[in-house]
Symmetry: C2
Subunit: 518 residues, 2 copies
Amino acid sequence: MTALRSLTLGDVAREHRRSRPDLLAVVDGDIRYNHRTLDERTTRLANALAARGINRGDRIIWYGQNSAHLLELIVAGSKIGAVTVPLNWREHVAALTTAVREAEPRLVVWQQEEIGESVAKVRADIGDGPLWLRHDAPEYEEFLLSGSLDDTEEPFGGEDAVLAIYVANPQDGPNAALLSHLAVLIECLAIGRVNEMSDETVFLNSGPMFHLGTLVSTLATFHHGGTNVFVRRVEPELLCQVIEAEQCNRAFLTPPTVAAMREVVASRPFDLGSLWPGLNPDEWHSVTPSLNPTSGRSGSYGQSEVMGLATFGGLGRVPLSPFGRPLPTVSLRVFDPNGRECEIGEVGELVFRGPTVTTGFLNRPDLDLSRQPDGWHHTGDLGVREEDGSVRFVAPMGRLIKSASENIHPVEVERCLQQHEAIADVCVIGCPDVHWGQVVKALVVLESGAGIGLDELADFARARIASYKKPRLLQIVDSVPRLANGQLDRAAADELGGGGGYPGEHSGSARHVAKRSS
Amino acid sequence: MTALRSLTLGDVAREHRRSRPDLLAVVDGDIRYNHRTLDERTTRLANALAARGINRGDRIIWYGQNSAHLLELIVAGSKIGAVTVPLNWREHVAALTTAVREAEPRLVVWQQEEIGESVAKVRADIGDGPLWLRHDAPEYEEFLLSGSLDDTEEPFGGEDAVLAIYVANPQDGPNAALLSHLAVLIECLAIGRVNEMSDETVFLNSGPMFHLGTLVSTLATFHHGGTNVFVRRVEPELLCQVIEAEQCNRAFLTPPTVAAMREVVASRPFDLGSLWPGLNPDEWHSVTPSLNPTSGRSGSYGQSEVMGLATFGGLGRVPLSPFGRPLPTVSLRVFDPNGRECEIGEVGELVFRGPTVTTGFLNRPDLDLSRQPDGWHHTGDLGVREEDGSVRFVAPMGRLIKSASENIHPVEVERCLQQHEAIADVCVIGCPDVHWGQVVKALVVLESGAGIGLDELADFARARIASYKKPRLLQIVDSVPRLANGQLDRAAADELGGGGGYPGEHSGSARHVAKRSS
């Protein structure tokens, strides 16, 4: 990417400094900067980082909660080509230690308040290879102000990474998706359309910024010249106070948070009328009546590896699937396990192509190969095209059963069998078989008073999905094993029903898959 | 650009075929295709082109009026990496002949109806080096259907050109700005926000598609999955009929067209209530009252060389300048003639950086150098930053006066002097001078009964602009020479006032500048 045609977050800061210098860029407790100051501070910070030898491609870890300093760090990093890696501070110390070690950062920006104890443990393990800079202490301002105001405007951009976001994938160990300058630019433009952004947008960072669900809106608000308001944690009364005080019109609010805010508002009135209902209009209408009308449709699908939001149900023709259709930033296909495109209605893996797709995983070339083997980014999620072309997310792929040469997703078979009126619950496993390699077995919990035989079960399945996916074994059980979070406990199910012999289980060559995580 | 991260118009067609196959993509008289058919036809056309040896980087000229076939051609071209060049069919035959010759096309798609005579003249000169394909005859369908339905999905994208648009620049001879796949993608996303597009958009192509003013909306409508409705020419009654029949909600309508439609509607009622007022709400309200509210602000600046629209006044904080602020797709600066950034309020050249900037001029490396000498694209237009950061377009740069080593824009001095109460009209020229090279001379038309001397004039200027820009010569005239279109006739003014010796006039090294042309 030549300087002539690059547009990084650093360039955006430089432009805002000229286009809207006096407009408020960040609010974080007592911190209030306009765009002129944000550009100056990020130039200083970039120069301070460069003076410590931090250069293009170097990683900078953010080990703190939500803060204006994180936005500052990302923009400063983009001015020197560095990659900012926000850690999930809620993770276990052991996982965080591994993540920090594998990221090989030059700098860790950390926070004492609330999480200082865990930081200390990680630091004790990692040592002082990287520079450690505390952001909630005077040393942060000293560090920043040590950088000069001279903006050299070195060109970065294109497919160079500017962010690395850890994706939730316990199977694969810590892995962070590298996201490019171009991916950020394009996603910010798309989010600007979805959330109707402009420089009048005032976004409350009320979700964790280590997830793109919030961070993409932070960046899009910045990109469109609006105001980012930060809170360290999601506390319902504080959120109400801040929305009222700053007249926030966008926020990241999950249904439980909205419910908690509803209780706050019931006991003490706040004027929250500035808020646009965004992606949760129905929830939000119960908190404040003075909202703009929206479609009331808010379904979406995404994952960090494709820069967050990738399908959306709230714009355009009403889709059959609430997940909607792909954003105009991506190509989406549904692939069978052989990489052939599925028919309409046939469940397969969701795969993406486009400029928002991750350029790879931080220090994980194995994942680059396994997740992007064929010119498509494999999400590790199952989905299906509806008749009208909209896309339904079905479930994380989890595991595959291999019967003869056929690949069978247990979740697809389960989804089918659950429709049978005699079946209350079901878990599908693969059992080792001399002839077939594995055969499909259904562990079935019957509805009270109901009964079903294998033939009927197989017929039911064959009428709805490919014949080779039908159960060849049936075991009636009192309950199927589930984890504390309600998900099927497939290991326990295997133990209960004699499952095993899954592809790759012995050879180690199975493609690991990631859970949806945006 | 790898296949994994590319997103071309061809990819967009492939995605729509899956996401919204049955949605109407194009309407053009009797032609009505959905997105499935558009993808199939563009694959066939791409294969038919490839079979004739048309490959990546080859030029295809469109020598016709507005048509669904032009959109088809652009999308098909993007599937094989070819560059579509829409000609301005209104131009003189001589200019068109030069343009066709210099573009060195492999194919000219042409039209018999209404313009067949001029095509024949151009073809007589050019000969049959390129293939000539008539699009308003059965041979077009035969050609298209000769291509196979097999979509090989060869990867193109990134900074490869997909379009070349002729810019209006009589000084420089024919020159077409090359616009990349990435520029198209990013501009389409930005236009989607500005015009609130989705797959419910129904855009009436009611401006000439050889200008980006219309063509960018064509492409953005397509990109967002909407419906493009084509009319061959801008005929007010036809526009009313088509809007009513197709329920168009977007259109490209200039004030004269709106005025003409108003007359049509006065004599025969049409239901035009589907239309969104777009960029001309005030004009439009007078035609139909049933419109959505908009900001009523619609100023903008752009040029073909930056993919059309580049600043916009209709979103976000109300700007001091009606031209608004840069879109979130570009960096904009105002440069003095030495390439230094101007202060607020100081007039200079508008320069741009970003992914929508032209990758160069078709077969004109001289222009690449002169228009993009320093990592910025020079528009050849004068502008100024207002106090609030918004940007005002002032005038095409036209010519420079060189006095000592200083560069002086006559238009800036004129803009200043026009504020003097004694001055009714003014034209500023440069006069040859042994000592200074040139000196600034003002040709002044006085207000009735008023008078002014050189000292007062110079003092007035010095108080407002740089001292070296003040007039050193004054000539009172009855009128300043103007062209038929009302613009200053600078050649006649030089003759009247003894002007000459402009930089480059003898050496031939002056940087030629292009007029605003989007």
